[in-house]
């Protein structure tokens, strides 16, 4: 598949992921955000130039735009890493890459710097918090790529699957543990009600899970030829025997 087509599929898959994020936001997270905003306003804070209604609509638009941008990055990485990704077809490769992106890009950084609802956080430290968060995402992504490369390097040297998986995953765990222990703790005290904060954090994890699941699934589905999707064509009969989609490269 040409890179242009790959990018279009990525943008479409990411738009789907953005809709999934927005749906999670509307269905599961909206209450927590609104409750937090009310608390914030009751405490004399908040109250920006836009009404809640405008913010909610812009929140949906923003989530979809975010999804499209994420999908485009996903597509470029997929194109570059395709021959190194596990899985015998593009469906499996896409799901693997999306799962790795969820863990490295959201789950690991969120363990150290968990998301907070509106009203939590000192504006004076937001620059520092943003920088730490972005740095930890970068570190986590590099550690994940490094572990995957270690696995593939060992495979090329003929190391058996069990020891090389253990080595690669072990190296990843050590790197992530060192980062989680070594990065400075989040600077702000969280004074919002614990239940509200907990519910909010769970919904954010759910939102990213939904975004990556839909992005990975839609991209994988669109990457397959129609025959591969149903398994009814010649290609489907040959499943497991070879990569049928590489002929289009």
């Amino acid at each position: 598949m040409s890179l242009g087509r790959c990018l279009r599929l990525g943008a479409a898959a990411g738009a789907g992921g953005g809709v999934a994020l927005a749906l999670t936001l509307a269905v599961l997270g909206g209450a927590a955000i609104s409750e937090a905003v009310e608390l914030e306003e009751a405490a004399g804070g908040g109250g920006g130039p836009f009404s809640r209604g405008v913010q909610q609509v812009a929140g949906v638009v923003g989530a979809v735009a975010l999804g499209v941008a994420v999908g485009v990055v996903f597509a470029v990485v997929f194109a570059a890493a395709r021959h190194r990704l596990p899985g015998r077809d593009d469906w499996r490769r896409s799901l693997w890459l999306a799962a790795a992106a969820f863990v490295a890009g959201h789950l690991v950084p969120a363990l150290k710097y968990p998301p907070n609802p509106p009203g939590v956080g000192d504006p004076a430290t937001v620059g520092r918090r943003t920088a730490l968060y972005v740095l930890l995402i970068a570190f986590s992504v590099v550690a994940t790529v490094g572990a995957a490369r270690l696995n593939n390097w060992l495979a090329a040297r003929g190391t058996a699957p069990a020891p090389r998986h253990l080595l690669a995953v072990g190296a990843w765990v050590v790197l992530v543990a060192v980062a989680l222990a070594g990065f400075p703790p989040p600077p702000d005290a969280v004074e919002a009600p614990a239940t509200l904060v907990w519910n909010f954090r769970l919904t954010v994890v759910g939102g990213w899970l939904a975004l990556w699941a839909v992005t990975g699934a839609v991209f994988g589905w669109l990457s397959l030829s129609p025959a591969d999707r149903t398994g009814r064509g010649d290609a489907g009969a040959a499943e497991g025997a070879g990569d049928t989609s590489s002929r289009s490269d």
């Binding site: 936001l25 923003g62 975010l66 194109a79 969120a110 918090r129």
Partner: protein
């Protein structure tokens, strides 16, 4: 992986990486910037995309 048949590596051309960098910059501006790049208009972007930002779990306020 052991079941993966060899497929030809491909080189992503420069423009592909530029598009990815542009998308990453958009993600940062939309979701994470608090004035470092956008300056004073960051507050407007922040307020407008307030809910999306919080839902993306980026540091806020």
């Amino acid at each position: 992986m052991e079941h993966t048949p060899a497929i030809a590596p491909r080189t992503v051309p420069l423009w592909g990486w530029l598009v990815a960098a542009l998308a990453l910059a958009l993600i940062y501006l939309l979701a994470a910037d608090n004035g470092l790049v956008l300056g004073r208009s960051a507050g407007v972007v922040h307020e407008l995309f307030h809910d999306a930002r919080h839902f993306a779990g980026v540091p806020c306020h």
